[in-house]
Structures are given as C-alpha cells and as structure tokens.
Symmetry: D2
Subunit: 341 residues, 4 copies
C-alpha cells in the first residue's frame, strides 16, 4: 500500500511520535510505502511531499514539533480544494491518507472522506477538547509544563506575599487550567465554561489572606471571561489572520485584584512554552499507539474513522461523531477540584 501522512494545525508534542509510529508499522510490518506531505493540507493540495522511510523518522520520537511542518490551510479554503486533493491522491497512487490534527483538521478530513477519499484521522490537541476520545496526546505535556511553572511560582509568591494570576492555554475549554491547577494546588481556577464573578474571586483570595496565608495562586484559561457586568473587560483583538487574539485576561485580572484587595497581584502568561518540546512518556505512548492503530485501520479498510482512547483501549470512531461538539469540563469535575469559581 501507499499511505500519505500530514500534520495540520497548531503545534502539539507527540506529532513526531505518531509519524514515526505510522512509518514503523506500515513499512516494517506491512511493507507499505509512506510519504509525508509538507505543511499540512497545503502539501496535499500542492503535491508537496517527501518519502518517509525508517531513516527519515530515526531519532524523532522524543522531539517536539513536527518534521513535516504544519499550516492552517484547509481544503475548503480553495474553491477546488476537494478536487485537487482527489487528483493528487490518484496521481500519487495513494491508498490512504492519515491526517493528524485538531478539530479543524478533522472537519476537513470528514469533508474529504464524505467526498470519497480514503481517510483515517488521528486526533491532536493540547486542549483535550475532542469529545470522541478520553484524552488526546499533547495534553499531558502541556499540563506538565504548566504544573512545573506553577510549582516554581508558588515559592516566589509565598516569599513575597503576592497574588499570582497564571494564564494557561485553553480558548474554549478549561482542561489545562483544571488539571494543572489541581496538580499544583491552585487556590482558584477560572475556565471558559464558567464565566467568573470577579467579586467572588476577590472574596476567596481575600479570605485566604485574612486566614493568615501569605499568597494565592489563581490559574486562568486564556479564554476565561467574567460574567457580564461584573468587571470591565476587553476581549482580545483579532490578529492578522482574523483569529481572536487571547492573552489579556491575566493582565486585566491582576489590575482588578490589586485594586480590590490592596495586595500586589502579578500576571504570568505561560504562552507557547506549553505546546513545544519533548513530549511526556504518557504522550509518547498514546501517540505511538494512535499511529499504530491508524495503519491497522487503513489495512482494515476502516475509512472515515478516527483513532480514539477509551479507557485503556484504542478504538475507532466515525469522523462524523468526532467533531460533533467540543468536550467541555463537566460539572462534577469542577466540584472535585473545589476551587473552580
């Protein structure tokens, strides 16, 4: 068989582990040929690719980023995107395409699959917001990086009697905030799913200081917003690509809290460091398993499906289901964390 693989969308630790796994399983065990498209769907649309043999994926398992490059280009961006993709699949003699990507990528995958192309998707997002799978690779690494930072910040907050407002990734869902906040013992966690009441936040933090504690750590998702009317708040502006630019909430909250509490409050924005670098062992294992099972799905003719983790098993779910709705943090998880406002 001849299989094409591509990585699309934002960066995510574990992408290289999937690529390596696809090549190992396909080439060694099935004597397949694998090619990698450059820069996501762009590579497919422009037939820009290279051959991936064992040497090409040697040493990449623990490396962050993606050796294939990525972009935000989608087939739907072109009027003839689907037809161009189909043409290249035929010209290159491809039996299957394995796109690795997040929600947008999987929607594009479904579009092409519905148009009859042989697709098996692999879900990817550090945000962990894809409903059809228990976990996505990249999430554990992002949580780990955020938790390490929070561990460090706690000592400095404590020594200087401060409130630290730490902004982590998560535009639409609060998974990274929830897990890193629980792991580091944050005193308040703010997530996009629950608009927060800044007065309530000030009360919680204030009571902590009144009880003699010397510092407080607030973890906030970049997409968290105050309840309308509780605080002056400017959403991020749009950037040159028309995407909403986030990363304003920690800055605005620190000014607001400093005023309400009369305590020093400082914002820390963790930023891109959460999505780069060596993946954790957890993410490498999950990514490797996804790659292996994607190749098996190809050989089983299970097109239009996506790999997913359910408990300890890797299963296949229809792409259609996969992108139905965002997996948000459910109410019982707020309660467990005890400090989600």
């Amino acid at each position: 068989m001849r299989i094409g693989v591509l990585t699309s969308g934002g960066d995510c630790p574990g992408l290289n582990a999937v690529i390596r796994s696809v090549v190992h399983r396909a080439v060694v065990d099935h004597s397949d040929e694998v090619i990698g498209f450059h820069d996501g769907w762009k590579g497919l649309l422009e037939a820009d690719y290279r051959k991936l043999d064992l040497d090409a994926v040697s040493g990449i398992l623990a490396r962050g980023g993606t050796i294939l490059g990525s972009s935000r280009v989608q087939p739907a961006h072109l009027r003839d995107g689907v037809e161009r993709a189909r043409g290249h699949v035929q010209d290159l003699g491809l039996d299957a395409i394995i796109p690795i990507g997040g929600e947008g990528t999987l929607k594009a995958a479904r579009l092409l699959s519905d148009a009859g192309l042989p697709i098996v998707g692999v879900p990817k997002t550090i945000d962990n917001d894809i409903t059809a799978t228990d976990v996505t690779f990249g999430f554990d690494t992002a949580v780990g990086v955020a938790t390490d930072a929070l561990d460090r910040l706690k000592t400095t907050a404590e020594s200087h009697q401060r409130v630290l407002i730490v902004e982590v990734m998560g535009r639409h869902t609060g998974w990274i905030a929830l897990h890193s906040g629980m792991a580091a013992g944050a005193h308040a966690i703010l997530v996009p799913e629950r608009p927060f009441d800044v007065a309530e936040l000030a009360r919680v933090v204030g009571e902590r200081f009144e009880a003699g504690k010397k510092f407080a750590i607030v973890v906030v998702s970049e997409g968290a917003k105050p309840r309308p009317g509780t605080m002056d708040f400017t959403s991020g502006a749009t950037d040159v690509y028309g995407h909403e630019r986030f990363s304003g909430v920690a800055n605005q909250l620190s000014v607001e809290l400093e005023e309400r509490l009369g305590k020093e409050a400082r914002p820390v924005i963790l930023g891109h460091v959460q999505r780069g670098g060596t993946p954790t062992a957890y993410d490498r294992v999950l990514a490797t398993r996804f790659g292996w099972h994607a190749v098996e799905a190809v050989h089983g003719g299970r097109f239009g499906m996506m790999t997913a983790l359910r408990g300890t098993d890797i299963v296949l779910v229809p792409l259609a289901e996969a992108v139905e709705e965002l997996k948000t943090v459910p109410a019982n998880r707020y309660i467990e964390a005890e400090c989600v406002l």
Copy 2:
C-alpha cells in the same frame, strides 16, 4: 464523622496527594475530623496516630513519600490483628478507615471489611498491576523517571557502540518496562509475563548492528526470566524479610549478550529512584480524585469498596473484585510495542 487514613506497603509518588485530598474534602466540606495512623496498619494495630488538619497537609501535594510513614505489617500477622483493629476503631470513635495501598494492603482491607469494619480502600502501586482500575497513581511517575533515564542512556550508548540492558521495576508485570520502552523507543522489551529466549534476543540485537546501527537499548523488568533451558539463570536470593530479592537479570543478561555478540554490553539498574520524588501532574490529579471520592464513599456508606479509574471517571468497585488477580500486560499490547520478545 471521624475518619482514619493510613498508607501501607512500598513507596509510591502520590500518597501525600491522596492524604491531602482526603483531609481537604473531609474537613473543609464535611466538617469531619481526620486522623492519620503511623506506619501503615502498624499504627492502627497500636493506636499510634496523629490528628490531620489543614495545616498538617499544607505543602505536601507535590512531595514524594508519605508523611504518615509506611510499613509492611499486616493485621493478619497478629493472631488477634482483626480484634485489635476493631477495638481501636471503637475506642477512637472512628466512622471509617481509608487504607491506601497495593495488593497486600487491599487484601488486608478486605479481611477487615469482611469482619465488619467500615473500610474504603484506595489502590496504590507503581507497578499498575491492579485489575479493577485502568491506572494507579505512581505508575506515570515511575514510567517518566525510567523514560528520562532511557533518553539519557541512548546518547551514551550511541557514542560508544554499546548494548545497554536497563532494568526497571516490575516483579510480576511488565507495565513499566512496556511503557518506558515504548516511550523511549527501546529495541527490545522483556517482561515477566513472557519468559524470553536469549538466543532470539541476541539475534534481534545482532541484526541491528549488522544493519549498521551503532547501539541497542534493551529494557527488562526486574522480574523477567528466560525460558527454561535457554540460559543459565539465577533468580534473586531471598532477603532478611523472606522476600525474593530481584535485580539480577540485567547483570546476567549483559554477560550473556557480550559473549554471544562480541559487543560491549552494560547493565544499568534504575532501582529505587523510580518510586521516589515529586509525582507527575497526572499522578497528582489521579491521587487527588481518589482521595476526594474515598471521602464521598465514606459519607455514602459505601464500605467494602475501593476507588478506581474507568476511562475518565472515578468509580467504586468491591474490594473483593479488586484483589482477584494481577493485571498483566495483555497480548495486544505486546504486538503494538513491536519489540516485546
């Protein structure tokens, strides 16, 4: 309510996170009183304990070990163990006991539960070998430590054209070997579940060198053994406590491989470093959730049960089921890893 908590058996990153979580949930949300028994069941049998309030568990979330101490003492070691435990539970006015421990501890928990004591167990083992739960806390940390070591060892093996035989924990099951070996891209993985053929191992490693590769990494569980008749092999002697002492397999294998291959082969025994120190974010979240749900089980009167992870949910399972049989690595996981001999 008045709740007693104890930690028993081998060390495991995340124990303190469970203790902290139990205290937070019980004291803050239910106005319970919590006491901690010292050194596992020993503390219960001797009524040796201390009060655990919020201050007592401040700052312990990320700390390895257990602030309560541990031991391998079991109620069944004493003729009147069960009666002494019952007596102290009554004298201390305890409404529940939450023992945190591995297979042995959970068996003791079941014994006491069958005798009518109000018990909710929390499973703990870095080996990940308890059937009733998808994962146990401590496992992710152990795999992470082993993977970090393997990442380091790869570069030194490569520069010096060596075979490295890296012995990781796992007396009866190969979970740590499997996951760290997959995460680090080991070239062979040996697990207790599958007695290995040393000739086959030598062949796999030899072919790698013939193909021009300069090194090989073999990950081996401390409890892995050769197929009878394939290699002279001495199992570990028993130690002063009558336990079998492991940690001989890497040494013996390196001698054997050096002889068969004419290549330098060196053993590395990771040892106790795998079970100490700061837990990963993953383990802290899981441990925290277990503690929280154990308190809920107590308040729901769900005695004789144990917390467990199923998918993304924490559920309760009967202690009876929990200790039925060891969770071994299933065949399909060997196949995925592609290098389990």
Copy 3:
C-alpha cells in the same frame, strides 16, 4: 555567639540553602545560637524574629523562596533606621548579623557596618550583576529555567515558521539573556548594555529566512532598549511602588518585526518563573558554601565583609567594594556569543 540572619529583596533560588548552611555551621560546629528575622530588614527594625535550630531548617535545602520571608524595606527608609537596628542588636545580644541580599541589601549592610554594627553580607541576585563575585547563586537556576523554555520554544517556532521574541529577566544587565541565549543557540540576543538597532535585527532575522531557515529565536533582556531614533518605543510605566515596570520590549519588538519582515512574530515573556522553585545543584552548592564561610567570617571577626566566589575559592571582600558598580557583560563575551546585536 548569637547570630541573626535575614533575607531581603527579590526572590532567588538558594536563599534557603544559605540559611540552612548558616544554621548547620553555627549550631553544630560552633554551638552558636541563630535567630532569623522575618521579611528582611523589616524584621530587624521591628525585632520580629524566630529561633532557628536544626529542626527549623530541616528539609529546606532544595526548596525555592525563603522560609524567613522578604521585603523591600531598608533601614534608610526610616529616619531612625540605623538606631533602631543598633538597639535591637544590643537588646537581642547579637554578635553578628548576616544579611543575604542583592545590591540594595548590601548597600544597607554597608550603611549599618559603617555605623559600627557587626555585619557579614552574603550576595544574592539572579541577575549576576554584582562585580565583586564571579557568580551569585540563583543565576544558574534562572538561566536553566530560561534555557529549558527556549529548548521547548524552538520546536514550536520551527514547525510554524515563526519568529519568537523571548523576554528574560535582566533590567540593567544582560547576563541571563547572554547565557540562556548561548545555551539554546538563539539567533539574536539583545541586552541592556547595548541599545539595539531594530533595522539590524530585522536584517539578521530576514537573512536567516532567506537562507531557507524556517524560524528564528530572539532572546531579549527585559531592560534592553532600542538605539534612540531607530524605533518607536515606550519604556515601562512605573508601578505603585515607584519602580519602573518592565516587560514591554518583547511585545513592541514582535509588532515591529512582523511589520518589517512580513513573518509571524510572537512575544513570550518568561517572567517570575525564572526566580522561583528548586535551585540547581550548582546554586545549592554555592549557596551552602557562602553560608558556611559567612559563619567563619563572623567567628574570625571579619565584619564589614561579604562572601564572594573567585575561581573555585570562597573569599571575603569589603562590602564597600561589593557595591561599587554593576557587573555588566564585557565586550569579549558579546563577541564569543556571536549574536549579540
């Protein structure tokens, strides 16, 4: 003897290691008594302190922050600051004071020393800008944290064809930028000592992309500024304490570079995470040696001095020298780094 110790100024990994070392050397070897003042000079001025015995410093060697707390209060802030300090030294029967702190703290130390108080200083700054010592503890940890972040960011920059502008600490000197930039292989390093020419920066980065490279990493000290007239630039505003607030340069540079290059450029501000958390082994050893030698200086009556590292030796230098001028990055170090603009 009776010795008072205090930590003053900004947070710095290794403070606790110094405190522990002072107590160990003084109590165990000299049978001294040690007290610790709370929140820096404030504790001395208000006679707010606690006794420090071996138990009080147990387990703090690897912990970030300072168990004594810190503040920015200085004796010179009070009209009768020196006299109050003298009074408390007499009332408490102190034979010596060991203040641990940066430039401001050491100036205060000199003031009190000139007024006849028995002082031995220990220098502390993550910025490494104290002339009289080769290195200060905390610097190695800060550089390590920044380098880890840069390692992670490189993979994400590479996958997405971006310029990343990473702002590290250093208001007046570029040591952290220089060392982390060299360690991570940054493509340009901007330091406060050399106002940069933004056109030159754009040229360097642009040439890199023209040569086919897919990303660039620029490390910039928070205190770096453009050469007058080369770029619109707003220095940070002053905060509520009258200190200049930094952390604007990366934001402004990323806008400017995006415009000049037509490439996506993103700011990352590492912030407080550089000054918190577990110190590196290097910093723990240096801090421990400083504490040990400070006690020896007290017993040798070497007041008015400060510990310093020279080569591999710990020596004593007059406080007067210690604070003469800031240690800036010398020209030959720029040349070695090859990418300081």
Copy 4:
C-alpha cells in the same frame, strides 16, 4: 585554514556543543574548512573523517553524546601511531587538530604536539579532575543528574526508614560525590581521596537514627575504598579491556551497614545515566566558549596549548601542565561539606 576535530574517551555531555562551536567560529567567522574524524584518534589514524559544515552541526547543541563517535584508541597504541597521524595531517592539508578529551586524550595530544603536530586541546571529563582548569564541561550535568536522583531517593528512604548507599561516578576523585552530596544534603560522603573507616560511618549513621531521624543517605564515589583492615572489601575485577571495573562499593557497604546497624540498607548505583543526555545550560555555555577559544588559539598559532576556565575567563595553558597531576578534592572542601568521612 583547514581544521580537524575529534572526540576521544568516555562520553560527556557538551561534546556536541564544542564541535558546533568550533564549526560556527571557524566556518562563519574565519571561512575555514572543518573536518571531523570518526571515533576519536582512530579516525585520525585511519583517515576516517567527514566534512563538517553548518548543516552538519545544526540542532546538536543540546544533544548528548558526540556526533563524531568516540573510542579509547590512542596513537601510542600503534608502533607508528605518531607517524601515521603526521602523514594524514599532511595528506589532508590540515593546519590544526582540535582533540576534545580527558586525561588520556590530552596526554596523546601532548605526544603529538611534542612531535611537531599543530594541536590545540579541549579538556573534557565529567569527573572534573583536570588540574589546569577550574571546571570541565559535563561535570555540572553529571552532578545535576545525581542530585535529581538523590532528591527522589530521600523521600523514599524517609518513608521506609532506610539507609540508602548511592554510588556515583568518580574512580580517582570525589568531585561528583562531593557536589551532589552537598546539593542534596547527604549525611555522609565517601570519596576516593580519603579511605573511609566503616566503623566511623556506622557510628555517624547510627547516631542519626538514635537522634530520632528516620533515614540516612550515604553518597559514595565508585572509587572509594575502606581503610585497610577496617572491612572485608573486594575491589572490582578488571574487564575485557584490562580496565578495573568499579561499582562494587555500594553493594558491599550496604551489606556491612545492615549487619552493623540492624537497619535496612539498600544500594543504588546510578551508573551511565550520569554521563548521557542533554547538557545543562552551564555545560553548554562552557563547551561553546571552549570551542570558540580553541579556534582562536589555532588562528593565533598557539599550538601545544589547551583551553581552560579560570574564574570567568577562558585562558590557554600548556598541554604539558594540563596533564601533570589529577585535581583531587582539597582538604578545605571536605571541611565545608561537613560530612566527608
């Protein structure tokens, strides 16, 4: 100019950083040509090499091991070793050779230099035992790895009331034991320079338990030995290369201590993990500076010299001096550590 570079002897984090730095300085700034010999002196003796341009050293700064490979072959191993080296230097038109290695490598470098070949050495050893330089790269990484392990082991020792005997690298000198032991707060440190008295060790550890402490950590260099007559002791056997094999002392000590104290004592042998993997920022900076200055020395015709760190400066010292005697841990450093027996 045409420069040859090679790495010889045991593995050491930072080798790749030196190679990269040599190439960057030579190629970019001096328009030199650089070739890299494979597997140390072997490559020079057999004219086995490859060209090193900027692409060849891209991405290696943070990578452990050496891209050139290494071996323990020395020119003196061949009767005509010096003449063969001279012949290849002439045939390849080399203006200089930069060997990077430890004591043995530098002795060979001196031999060739005395024979008239144009050599500039770069010292390398994780053991930090070269007299002519304050520090060698690799040492900081080794100490860091050992300290991380000790941090982890402390919690597990504490929870289980154990003595842990942790064996670190250092055949002839105790630098790694001294620094990691100080950094982690070990309770006893045993080094090769001072044969230890096992009765004294048992006394120190025993008193700790009598004082109510629950554990003890002993750090021991692999080359440490008991004072004659104080303990049955078997030195390591020689391996197939005629080198003495170390790594027996922790095992023997744990048996001896268990017997004398009646406490559980466990050996942990850290092994090769100390010399592999990503170098610390400190080592990357030092290695980069060494490479830069080696190229400058070549262009200044300063042959027969070696780069060295003195304080904060990189200087050149004669190879003759460099290998005169091993840098052992001086007495005053034992006293500072307070627990070297």
